[in-house]
């Protein structure tokens, strides 16, 4: 179906006298396909294809939204759905926490927008059989030793499209292709078990699947899983910590992305994910991190996992600074949250699929590069620890006290990387931690990561986000090792 066809359905249902009382109606159609391939221990483990398709109807009555979603694209079913949505809006309008103004022909929270987005295309030269063979080979290649007790390789090829049309004239089409790649090796020696992994989360661009460097990465994962078995435990101390982009992505996500979500600040999320230590008055005032900290909301980066042209409220997406020179200046809230809170926001009103309503989400949240080379960072450290690849994360409901763990670490002594360390963990409190940011890597140290699994909202929604970051150095971090 095209946006034109969806608009035709909208026009047909709008004739119905039963929808006369609706102030605004929007249809959002989403179709998404995931083809997943899993290889385990050199054998095929699973091949599956998941195809979801449906239409969300949003209706406003007295400024209150009601919604109804169903997989059926038939006009009669969409009309029935729209009537249900109107009744939900009517019943809820008496109890509205934030009624919005729908008096104007172009309501602020649902702007009129027309346009198209297409992600870079995935090079679809690989047949399902070829991708199956690839995950089998990858998982087989990692079985380098009898101490490697389990290997896994996973590829998820996704393609999707979403369309948004509304009674105020919005007509948007967005197409997305992407690849999630993950591979890992588990090694065991006596009572010690260790795991090492690597992967990619990107839109389009699957060249790395056919690039010879992939096999170097596969080999490295296997070798490092073995190396960890005999590595010393991470010490308990307060020290300098270098975080690689594969851990920075998580650090940014949990301790910058989530606390800046305006719906959390407004309390919508406090029964589930929690709320935030950040308050409305902090925007323009709070020194979130050191002067080296510059963070952007940027859905325009080609190939990053959460790039798009419009959010699901129809708001055109553009790059914005959230934190400039360490100062908090903008929140992660769509037009509804901006209207409610008066906090400057972004185009991040997003739904996980056709069966969930949009809420404030991260998209691509990126830490901008600084001026230090990797060598300059390492050579500046008298004693410290470099950590790579997140394996555990936990943070409180106000996003203050965090504890994160990584798969792999290196000791740094007298300006040089020395030996490998296992079970590296660190803990801290958000703003003191970011104010301890001492060096930020230059563009050559940037890497783009992302995750398809950011969870939030009631009803629960899991969504794709991207994070691009350089290598960063933090001072005075409390680090510690594994179980005693």
């Amino acid at each position: 179906m095209s946006a034109k066809n969806l608009n035709k359905i909208l026009n047909e249902i709008c004739i119905s006298p039963e929808l006369k009382k609706a102030e605004w109606i929007g249809l959002r159609e989403v179709r998404e396909r995931h083809r997943s391939f899993v290889g385990q221990d050199g054998k095929i483990r699973d091949i599956s294809s998941d195809n979801t398709h449906g239409i969300m109807v949003e209706v406003f009555f007295h400024g209150q939204m009601g919604y109804s979603a169903s997989p059926s694209p038939h006009v009669s079913a969409v009309l029935e759905s729209a009537i249900r949505a109107l009744r939900q809006a009517q019943a809820a309008s008496k109890w509205s926490v934030a009624p919005f103004d729908f008096g104007a022909s172009s309501p602020r929270v649902r702007p009129v927008a027309k346009g198209h987005y297409a992600s870079p295309k995935s090079v679809s030269t690989m047949s399902p059989a070829a991708i199956s063979e690839l995950v089998v080979m990858m998982s087989g290649r990692m079985q380098k030793s009898s101490k490697i007790v389990q290997t896994l390789a996973y590829i998820d090829c996704l393609d999707g499209e979403s369309r948004l049309v509304s009674t105020s004239g919005t007509e948007i089409e967005q197409e997305l292709e992407g690849i999630i790649l993950h591979f890992q090796a588990t090694a065991q020696d006596g009572s010690i078990t260790q795991k090492r992994s690597d992967g990619e989360n990107l839109q389009g661009n699957q060249q790395y699947l056919t690039d010879p460097s992939l096999w170097l990465r596969v080999d490295r994962v296997a070798e490092q899983s073995l190396e960890l078995l005999s590595a010393p435990e991470c010490p308990n101390e307060t020290t300098s910590v270098v975080l690689m982009p594969s851990q920075m992505t998580l650090q940014i996500h949990e301790s910058i992305g989530h606390p800046l979500e305006i719906d959390r600040i407004l309390g919508d999320e406090r029964n589930y994910a929690g709320w935030s230590f950040v308050r409305a008055k902090d925007f323009g005032n709070l020194q979130y991190g050191s002067k080296l900290l510059n963070v952007t909301f940027d859905p325009t980066v080609s190939g990053e996992l959460a790039s798009y042209s419009f959010d699901d409220g129809g708001n055109p997406a553009k790059r914005e600074h959230l934190i400039r020179d360490g100062l908090l200046i903008r929140g992660l809230g769509g037009l509804e949250s901006q209207t409610r809170s008066k906090i400057p926001g972004v185009a991040n009103f997003r739904a996980s699929s056709w069966n969930r309503p949009p809420v404030d989400r991260m998209a691509n949240i990126n830490l901008e590069p600084g001026s230090s080379s990797f060598d300059q960072i390492i050579s500046s450290i008298e004693s410290g620890i470099l950590m790579d690849t997140n394996r555990s994360w936990s943070i409180d409901d106000y996003r203050n006290k965090f504890q994160f763990g990584c798969e792999y670490a290196k000791r740094i002594q007298n300006g040089k990387i020395t030996h490998t360390i296992r079970n590296p963990n660190y803990r801290g409190i958000t703003t003191p931690f970011w104010n301890g940011l001492k060096m930020v890597g230059e563009a050559s140290t940037l890497y783009t990561h992302g995750t398809p699994n950011c969870g939030k909202a009631e009803p629960n929604q899991v969504i794709r986000v991207g994070h691009r970051s350089p290598v960063c150095l933090f001072e005075n971090v409390e680090v510690f090792g594994g179980a005693k």
Binding site: S70, W95, S96, Q403
Partner: protein, 451 residues
């Protein structure tokens, strides 16, 4: 949708019959239906943020191709509209695509061919609020409260069928109001009011209990130093800890692969407290006993008895790989409805037995500090109180803790309550999940707080 969810059983059975007719003698097809007709009302400040309904159904089909060299298999899931013509033509297209593709994929040495597990039908009808009166019925009794939460309700369906004749059906109508109440100083309490029949007086009772607990949160918060404290964990907090056993602990595959911290129980190197017994327990009746493939679990699967590992959750694929028997576990080998045995600590003795220490109603954001060793970190959340000489002093400021399952359910476990609470599953990722846990409270000699 083009038909009510309650009439999807015949739609599903007619569709799979069409699919089974297309199969060659070398092919076997297993199907699963997942569907719901749900209402969601999201609440903030005892008002409505978003309200709506979701109708959803999807059909999952796994095709197996038997050849001399082995079995090949692949799976396809797609959304059903409820309209016969469009669902049937989609089904035919998907089957023919799968029949083509399956010939070219690698042989799967551990593929488990379906068997006919017979006919099962479990129908749990409820008495739910009319969807248009929900807001009034929920909120009229909350005037003056600062309440946030989610009401989720409606029918949930699960069905399986395979080309060998198996047919299983599960239909349940239920609701849950997962909510929290707040003081002006942002201290909070949490509750979940859930069931299959809405009853206003039970709802008011639940609200009253939460309001009483909230009043204990109005005192000035107490800041704890890092260190070890004696602790009582209420059933909802215990449920969070026991939930970690689903993360690769009671999984047979994880034990065999050396990833489960419980591998030390199997080898006899370590043990847990003799007070601690844990069972996967379908007598709770909140979830179908059949899994996605239709394997039927025993009513009770004992996992830990008096501190010893006596069982594990075994999926059919793990069984095939290791030549052992499956016990109908899901592919992830996690819990669906665990129960922990009660002890003899009486409700009225909890504070006295705690003496001086922390009373934790809820935990938050658990994750491993060291998964292979069973060390877990997390936060305190909601009603967590400082108790001195058996008297509640006031709420504590949020603390991070970091400790081991071997201490929580081993060396530090002093007593278990003689009562248990049903902790309803309220997760709604992708669709409304089924399940629940039957958990007591536990008293700990010591728990380690780190930040």
């Amino acid at each position: 949708m083009n038909r009510p969810i309650s009439s999807f059983r015949e739609h599903f059975e007619s569709l799979v019959d069409v699919a089974f007719k297309t199969l060659s003698t070398a092919e076997v097809l297993a199907c699963e239906l997942i569907g719901e007709d749900s209402q969601f009302v999201r609440l903030n400040a005892a008002k409505v943020r978003q309200a709506g309904q979701v109708q959803d159904a999807s059909l999952r089909m796994r095709l197996f191709l038997r050849r001399d060299e082995g079995v090949r298999s692949l799976e396809n899931t797609f959304s059903l509209t409820g309209d016969w013509k469009s669902d049937e033509s989609r089904l035919m297209a998907v089957i023919s695509e799968m029949q083509n593709e399956v010939q070219r994929v690698p042989v799967d040495p551990y593929a488990v061919l379906p068997t006919n597990r017979g006919q099962v039908s479990q129908i749990e009808e409820g008495k739910l609020l009319n969807s248009e009166e929900v807001c009034d019925r929920l909120l009229s009794d909350c005037v003056g409260l600062d309440l946030a939460g989610i009401y989720a309700a409606g029918a949930v369906i699960r069905g399986t069928a395979n080309s060998l004749g198996q047919r299983q059906w599960f239909y349940a109508e239920n609701f849950s109001l997962d909510y929290s109440l707040y003081t002006p100083a942002e201290k909070a309490v949490k509750s979940t009011f859930a069931g299959s029949r809405w009853n206003r007086s039970e709802y008011l009772q639940d609200l009253d209990q939460s309001k009483r607990l909230l009043s204990a949160m109005e005192n000035k918060p107490i800041r704890l130093n890092r260190g070890n404290y004696r602790a009582y964990l209420a059933p909802a907090a215990v449920a969070d800890l026991v939930g970690m056993f689903s993360w690769g602990c009671v999984s047979e595959r994880s034990i065999r692969k050396g990833e489960s911290p419980l591998r030390f129980l199997r080898t006899g190197e370590r043990r847990l407290s003799s007070l601690f017994s844990l069972t996967e327990d379908f007598t709770l009746g909140v979830v179908p006993r059949f899994n996605g493939e239709g394997d039927i679990a025993p009513e009770r699967v004992p996992l830990i008895e008096q501190g010893h590992l006596v069982g594990s959750l075994v999926h059919s694929r793990t069984a095939s790989e290791y030549g052992i028997s499956s016990n109908g576990a899901t592919a992830g080998e996690g819990f669906r409805s665990p129960s922990m045995d009660p002890g003899n600590l009486k409700r009225e003795d909890i504070l006295k037995s705690l003496g001086t220490g922390v009373y934790l109603s809820n935990l938050h954001y658990l994750n491993w500090s060291d998964s292979f060793e069973g060390r877990v970190t997390g936060m305190t959340r909601y009603a967590c109180l400082w108790v001195e000489d058996g008297e509640v002093v006031g709420p504590i400021e949020t603390m991070r803790w970091d400790d081991s399952l071997y201490r929580f359910f081993g060396s530090e476990l002093l007593a278990i309550t003689d009562f248990r609470s049903v902790i309803a599953e309220t997760s709604t990722y992708h669709h409304r999940q089924l399940g629940g846990m039957l958990m007591p409270g536990i008293l700990l000699k010591e728990m380690n707080f780190t930040l």
